[in-house]
């Protein structure tokens, strides 16, 4: 009996020790140091760099990036005015500015951050409306040019996961829903995952009150939806 008690105590201690060693996810304050120190407000969202063969992917994402960022409390430079000014300045090609100084953007837009979105993958699988999307966000400080945050999301979207007792009904409904999928909300959902735990900006009621919240994802993560 004594032996059993001893083994039990030993096992309980081991479990406790193991749980103490498990790292807690980092806080927003630790992950987004620059955001809490500099309190950026305005963000210039660049037209996405599209590394895929789907030409429409660029429009899907450029149309859906402002809303999630604005909902987090940031001011996003309006997309059509931004595109007009960038074109007037001969600066519509995002790739050119990926590694260059961003001072010119500070002079023209007075933005605090520039967001460079890169679409690495947009791949449809089969006829059932499954899509693999890889999207990366790189936030750079306009004044220093420093990358202040980068995150890479690998997404798997299934058009219709509704179950049916009849395999043919299920197959047919999936093929139909795949054909009529609206990719605007799908793209927005990817963006929302990427910025979901970004610190709140000035226009959000929780601005500067969220540094102790835990971050939801790392620099690279996978998500099925």
């Amino acid at each position: 009996m004594r032996h059993i008690k001893f083994i039990f105590t030993l096992m309980a201690s081991a479990i406790l020790l193991a749980s103490c060693n498990m790292q807690k996810p980092a806080t927003r304050g630790e992950t987004f140091e620059h955001f809490y120190a500099e309190k950026p407000l305005s963000i210039l969202v660049m037209p996405p760099v599209n590394q895929t063969t789907n030409v429409e992917a660029k429009e899907y994402f450029y149309a859906t990036m402002h809303r999630p960022l604005a909902n987090k409390g940031y001011y996003t430079i309006p997309p059509f005015i931004a595109a007009e000014i960038l074109q007037m300045e001969g600066a519509y090609d995002t790739e050119i500015f990926m590694e260059q100084s961003l001072e010119a953007f500070g002079t023209v837009f007075q933005a605090d951050l520039v967001l460079f979105p890169i679409i690495h993958k947009w791949k449809k699988i089969g006829a059932l409306g499954e899509i693999l999307i890889d999207l990366q966000f790189i936030f750079r400080d306009v004044n220093t040019g420093e990358t202040v945050f980068s995150r890479y999301g690998e997404f798997r979207y299934q058009a219709n996961t509704a179950q049916s007792g009849n395999i043919f009904v299920w197959l047919f409904s999936n093929v139909v829903s795949a054909a009529i999928t609206d990719y605007v909300p799908v793209s927005r959902q990817c963006v929302e995952y990427l910025v979901s735990d970004l610190p709140y900006g000035k226009y959000h009621l929780e601005f500067a009150k969220d540094a102790n919240l835990r971050v939801l994802y790392g620099e690279q993560f996978r998500m099925n939806f």
């Binding site: 429009e59 149309a63 402002h66 809303r67 604005a70 001011y75 059509f80 000014i85 007037m88």
Partner: protein
Amino acid sequence: MRKITGILILTALMSSCAKPMYYWGKYDDAVYSHQKNLDDRSAKRLIAAYADVVNNAKKGQRGVPPPGVYADYGFFLIQQGREKQGERMLELEMQTYPESAFFIQQLLKMMSDRVEDGKKASR
């Protein structure tokens, strides 16, 4: 126990009824459609979407249109020859979001320079 359950249900109901930060209407779809098509039809659809967002702004928690909506709306109205209405929208953007004042003034200057250059070229 009943009281606690009641409070919990009420809290859940209240949180589910919480207003979103901004009213967006069909903003994303209209922006996508115009970026893709760049024609009169998509421009009209976009202007209607902006008008809807501006008119229903009170449905959002902040009670104002989201950042950039007044500005892009004004920009399109000016392009369509509705200068006064467009300039009013740009003013509203600058009042609602003061950080926009700088680039809006830059845009207005660039646009007036372009008009002047066009006039000079046609002389």
